[in-house]
Every structure is written in structure tokens, then in C-alpha cells.
């Protein structure tokens, strides 16, 4: 029986459980205490001191985010002492901050700005410290911009990078007045072990960490009538875009999203989900090929487990820290990059457009996709396959800039050729989705029957546990897959780089325990990506996941191989999975990067 305690907050009697902080208790009765360094996804910091409250009997003020509740505690969250202190804390933060909000990318979406507005901070109570600082701005990486002049040293990014993602690109450095958040010897993010996953951006309360935006070049392309601008949209975008435009989280807005993109002036609006289905065809075939070589021939050069490769944050993570794993990676490009290559070849041919006039844009929940598009090998079409990557947040900005009332848009459909997709494709946006999609196709390919799961919902691969395992027994195979008869296909799914690392260490230690693994860099999978609307929390990610699976359940076609446009592209262009054309356009290589 968990011990229950009674405390008093602002005159209200509140029951609290063991281990709850004052902040937890206040939230449970809808008393709002402002915070900055606190984040539900991260460990307690207690450094910003914004959340201070009065506790009877205790000296001074205490940080409500860090102070555990005790029986009989009497707390005041809004006394004169608290208000004065809080105001001064905000003013102190502003004094070491470049407070020209009107010129800041986070204008209107900054937690410090909101606090300052709430407390009606007016004049300069303190001396402006900014001229004394040598603040740097790092704009060198394709995905992340780090602007030290906006940093409030809340350490959310450091905790994210070290605990949540365990990449360790960021750290606190120096001390005293020189304290800052830094990389190894203050190098640009581009030069250190940074996966560009953008989780730091997702948790930064101010404009210190933002995505590098490509709004201007995309607008330019749209208004350049000599250019044919093609846009693709990732699965996870459609369940989150609404959050930026006044729609509660967990609502699917595909139709309106397509309509908005058409209104913005894109010449063709197609779907990354199409190439997600394509990825399943290619990767499924790849998996079967490897299984055949290992199970039949005992080929030691072929590596198992096969690992998915559609998460560029995971790919970069692997290249830096586990380069020995390169041979395990699927050679398939991500759906984004497959689409880009096809847009300037297949699509261009079919629509009779000169590929040099095509500008290929993608809308992604991801910041690492910007890095991925810049990878030198992503030019199989003969041009840069994906010219610009916009995050979900940037699309919302474009929609607002264009004066579009998103809510009142009439739903529209994707254009054909590369716009048709299945339920298997949309679940790519959730952790476990790629695995489930692959199993639906591979199992049927091998046995001629549907996967033995009710309504094709392979529940064991779903959920938010960091690492999940699932097994599927394969029986009654078609003759050409006799090597799989009776084989229990062992799979694992990990999301969030801390779990990717755990899984990698497990495999390093124990050898190949699985045949096929899916790894996503971001917590929750792409739906929790570094480019998604803010704020982020487990609750919000859960809602987005539910929306994705609901969308899948409602689709008429739920298996990638049944997508008619997929059948068409193989018939008319690619001919066969892993064929010559596929190899040229849809597959890629990886490389080792620095480890330290």
C-alpha cells in the first residue's frame, strides 16, 4: 500500500504520493507554477529557480520541481516574496540574453518570452550583460543552429543529449560567468559526434537551438515559374501538423495538409508513404536474400541481423559509434531519399519534365533528414535528389505566412504516380511501424497467407517500451522459401538512441540474437522527431501514435505489396526489387565517422 500524505498548497488540501515533488502536487490540482529547466522527459535539474515557492518553516524559497513533498507541508505558490523573486529571476535571465525577440526565430514560441510577458517585465532593471559576452552562433550544420546568445543554461539540451539520447555531443563548460553549453572544444556541431536528431531542439525553451530553416529557398522555388516543385510528406507529419495550427494533438489532418500544400503553390503534392511502401518491397526482398544466404548456404559474409536504415539520426549514430555494424545495415535508402531519386527520374520521365527544372522538397518530422539530403551520395538521379527538407514546424510557418486558414480547408488528395499508399506505410511514423509493415509483406510473400495476427495488427511490435522483441513462427512456406520452414523469425525494435545503444551493446556482446531489427533515433519513432511541433511529451507522442494506428486501420489497403502504384512502378520502371534500376536509385552506402 503506497503511503499517501496530505499537504496544503495555497490553502488547498492535496493528497500526494511518495516521491512526488511540490510541482507534481501542484499540477495534480491544476495550480500552475512556471518552470523553465523542468521537462517531463528529463531528470530533475533545479537550476533555473523560476519555480521557487514558499514553504512554511523553510528558510528562503525552495525549487518546487526538486523539493519532495512531506506530510503536513504548507506551501504558498504566489506570495509577495515569491513574485518578487520570480520577477528578478526572469529579469536576470533577460540580462544575459539577446532579448530582441522581434528578430528571433522563436518569436512567439519562446518559453522565456512567455514568462516575461506573463510577469509584465518592462524596463531594464539590470545591466545588459550581452555586450560583455563573446556569444557565438553555430550555423554550420545542415540541421541544427546553436545560438549561444539565447541560451538560458537550463541544461535541457545537455540532459537530452546525454540521458535521453546518450550521444553526448553537448555538455556544460567552464564556470562562473563564463558558463556555457558547449561541444568538444567549442567545435561546430557538424564536426563532433552529433547525430543531428534535433531532440535538443525539441526541448530547448528558447531560440538557442533551432532547426536550420529553408523557407526562403523553397518560397523562391515555388514562385519561380521555370521550376517544377515537387513535395513529399512523411507519415508522421500528418498526425502532428494540426498541433501548430490550432488543432489538438492526435488528429489526422492529411487531407487539409495536401490542400494547404497545393494552395501554397507546389506543382505536385505526393506522398513519402508511397516510397515507404517501396522501401518495404526492397528491404523485404533484401531480408529474404540474406536469410537465404545464411540459412541455406551458411554464408558468413552476409550479416544478420539486418537493420533498418530509414532513420538518418540512427544511421549517423551507427557510423560514428558502431561502424562495425555497417554490413548489417540495409542498403535501402530512406523513403525520403528514394522519393527524391525517383522524382527526378521516374516522375520526370512520366510527366515529361526536364529533371534539371525539378526542385524536390520534403516535409519531414525530422531534422536529421536535412543532413541526409545533403549527403554527397544522395545524387543518384544525377542531381541533388532532395533539394530542401522542411520540418513540420516550417510547413506550419509557410501556411501561416500564406494567410491560409488551415481549419477551413477542404480536404484534398495526393497527386498520382507517387501519391498512393497503404496502412503499412503510414505506420512508419511510429516506432515498430517499419517492422510491422515489413512483416505483413514478407510473411505473405513467403507463405502466401496473411500474417497470423488479428486484423493484421501485429501488437507485439507496438508500444513505447524502449526495446521490444517479437517473434513470428514461419510455417507452411511456399516451395521457393523452403529454407524458412519452421524458422522463428526473431525481431527487435528500439527507439531513442539510448535504446539503440543498449541494443547495439547487447548484440555486440551476445552476437546475432535477431534476424531483423528496427531502430529509430527519436523517442516514439518519427512521430517524436526533432522537427515536430513543440512542446513534446509522452502524452502527446502517445496521442500521435494512436492517430497513426487508427489511420492504418482505416485504410482500404494495408499491405505494401498491394499498393497499385507500387505494382505500376515495378512493372514500368524498376522491373524488380534489388534489380539494376533499384540498385542505382534506391540503395546507398555508409561510411565510418569519428568516434571521439
Amino acid at each position: 500500500m503506497e503511503k499517501v500524505k496530505k499537504i496544503n498548497i495555497d490553502g488547498l488540501s492535496v493528497q500526494v504520493k511518495n516521491g512526488q515533488t511540490i510541482l507534481d502536487a501542484a499540477r495534480s490540482v491544476n495550480i500552475h507554477i512556471p518552470t523553465l529547466c523542468h521537462h517531463d522527459d528529463l531528470c530533475i535539474a533545479g537550476n533555473c529557480r523560476v519555480c521557487v515557492v514558499e514553504v512554511k518553516g523553510k528558510k528562503g524559497l525552495v525549487a518546487s520541481c526538486a523539493m519532495p513533498t512531506e506530510e503536513g507541508m504548507e506551501i504558498t505558490t504566489n506570495s509577495l516574496m515569491v513574485r518578487n523573486a520570480r520577477k528578478q529571476i526572469i529579469e536576470l535571465l533577460l540580462s544575459e540574453h539577446d532579448s530582441r525577440c522581434t528578430l528571433c526565430y522563436k518569436n512567439g514560441k519562446c518559453e522565456l518570452q512567455s514568462l516575461a510577458a506573463e510577469y509584465k517585465i518592462t524596463g531594464d532593471s539590470f545591466i545588459d550583460l550581452v555586450p560583455f559576452k563573446n556569444y557565438q552562433i553555430d550555423k554550420l550544420s545542415p540541421s541544427v543552429i546553436k545560438d549561444d546568445s539565447k541560451c538560458i543554461r537550463c541544461q535541457r539540451c545537455v540532459r537530452t543529449c546525454n540521458e535521453l539520447q546518450q550521444v553526448g555531443a553537448l555538455s556544460m563548460a567552464y564556470k562562473g560567468g563564463e558558463t556555457k553549453i558547449s561541444t568538444f572544444v567549442e567545435s561546430p556541431l557538424y564536426e563532433v559526434v552529433c547525430t543531428q536528431c534535433g531532440q535538443c531542439i525539441n526541448r530547448c525553451p528558447t531560440g538557442a537551438l533551432t532547426e536550420k530553416n529553408y523557407l526562403d529557398p523553397v518560397w523562391e522555388a515555388i514562385f519561380d515559374h521555370s521550376k517544377h516543385v515537387v513535395v513529399q510528406t512523411a507519415p508522421a507529419v500528418r498526425v502532428a501538423l494540426g498541433e501548430e495550427l490550432g488543432i489538438p494533438s492526435g488528429e489526422v489532418v492529411t487531407g487539409k495538409m495536401v490542400a494547404a500544400l497545393q494552395r501554397l503553390g507546389f506543382d505536385s503534392v505526393m506522398d513519402t508513404d508511397f516510397t515507404a511502401d517501396l522501401t518495404i518491397m526492397e528491404e523485404g526482398t533484401e531480408l529474404l536474400g540474406r536469410l537465404e544466404k545464411v540459412l541455406k548456404g551458411g554464408d558468413n559474409d552476409v550479416k544478420l541481423p539486418l537493420a533498418t536504415s530509414c532513420s538518418p539520426g540512427w544511421v549517423k549514430f551507427m557510423e560514428h559509434l558502431y561502424p562495425d555494424f555497417i554490413d548489417h545495415m540495409s542498403t535501402c535508402k530512406s523513403p525520403q531519399q528514394m522519393f527524391g531519386a525517383l522524382a527526378k527520374t521516374y516522375y520526370a520521365q512520366k510527366r515529361n519534365i526536364d529533371p534539371k527544372d525539378i526542385v524536390s522538397v520534403s516535409i519531414m518530422p525530422c531534422t536529421a533528414k536535412k543532413f541526409e539530403a545533403d549527403r554527397p551520395e544522395m545524387r543518384s538521379s544525377g542531381y541533388k535528389d532532395v533539394d530542401f527538407v522542411l520540418t513540420t514546424r516550417e510547413l506550419a510557418i509557410m501556411i501561416r505566412q500564406a494567410g491560409i486558414d488551415f481549419n477551413s480547408l477542404e480536404e484534398s488528395d495526393f497527386d498520382t504516380l507517387m501519391g498512393e499508399s497503404t496502412g503499412a506505410a503510414v505506420i512508419f511514423g511510429a516506432t515498430g511501424g517499419v517492422m510491422e509493415a515489413a512483416l505483413r509483406t514478407v510473411y505473405e510473400l513467403v507463405t502466401g497467407r496473411e500474417v497470423p495476427f488479428d486484423r493484421l495488427d501485429i501488437l507485439p511490435v507496438r508500444g513505447m517500451d524502449g526495446i521490444r522483441e517479437a517473434e513470428v513462427k514461419i510455417e507452411g512456406v511456399l516451395p521457393e522459401y523452403d529454407y524458412l520452414e519452421g524458422v522463428t523469425l526473431k525481431t527487435a525494435i528500439a527507439h531513442g538512441l539510448v535504446n539503440a545503444r543498449k541494443l547495439m551493446e547487447m548484440i555486440k556482446k551476445e552476437g546475432a540474437m535477431y534476424h531483423f531489427i528496427e531502430i529509430m533515433a527519436c523517442p516514439g519513432g518519427c512521430l517524436g522527431g526533432g522537427g515536430q511541433p513543440l512542446p513534446t511529451s509522452k502524452k502527446i507522442r502517445d496521442k500521435r501514435a494512436r492517430a497513426i494506428y487508427a489511420e492504418d486501420a482505416g485504410k482500404p489497403i494495408r499491405k505494401s505489396h498491394e499498393n497499385p502504384e507500387i505494382k505500376q512502378i515495378y512493372e514500368e520502371f524498376l522491373h524488380e526489387p534489388l534489380g539494376e534500376m533499384s540498385h542505382k536509385l534506391l540503395h546507398t552506402k555508409y561510411r565510418e565517422r569519428i568516434k571521439f
Binding site: G168, V185, K595, F596
Partner: protein, 158 residues
Amino acid sequence: MENIKEIVDNLSEKHGQSPESLLPILQGIVNKRHYISEDAIREVARVLNISTAKVFGTASFYSFLDIKPRGKYVIRLCKTITCNMHGSHMIRSTIENMLKIKLGDTTLNKKFTLLETNCLGWCHKGPAMLVNDKSYTELTPEKIRAILTAYLNDEIEE
């Protein structure tokens, strides 16, 4: 002469490879090389299997874990008020004039670096300074000249 990898490997053999080993290893590097270079940080990260950012962030916190190149003899002059009251300014100018460097600088021959530091715990015998790990108190311009000359001739055993 040992290379940095050998130095770090030896230090990790002596102090272990746990989190608690980080500071002793960094101190050992400063002992040998007078500062912690980028390469040294990489080696420490490799040996302890932690990120270079973490090693850098920790080293940069501590005033005695220099991450900027320093001379063979690092002079740390106490700048606390009591040493001031006993003439640390004059000691500072004496050193600056004698070595032809300003606070924060290293001599061209890389022999001396002049830094300021906080209370050394010799307040009743100020002005005080450290030269590497050795402490010198009740300093006068004459004493400074004698001490620095001895170091210049590498006469002091460390």
C-alpha cells in the same frame, strides 16, 4: 618521450577506468604536459568510453586543469584581498617586468605562464603564489627575482 596515448594508457592503468578516475587522470596529464590538449581529451574519452564533450566540459570547470597550453612553470599569484593588502600588485609587476609577459600570457620560450588564482590559504604570509605545485609566501620583489631565476635555470626539483 611518451606520446599522449601512452601517457593516458598508463594513467588509466594507475587510476582505473571508472567515472571516479576522470579527475586523477586529467591531473596526471597536466602533471606531464602542463595542459590538456584536444588529443589528450580524445584519448581520455576513448579510454573511459565517455564523450569528448563530457571530458572537455569537466576539465574546463577546474581552474587547475588547463585546457590552454601553458609553460613549463605555471605561476599562480593569489589575488585575494589580504594578499593585495600586502602588496601583490607589486609582485605582479615585478614578475611581468622580469618575464616580459602580462597576466594570462606564456613566455616565448614556453618556460613561464603567469596567472592569477583565488585564496591559496597563506593569508597571514601574503603575498603568496604557487609555481606549479610549490607554494611561495611572504614574497618581495627580491625574492621573486631569486625564485624565478632559479626556475629559469631549471634548478628547482619538482
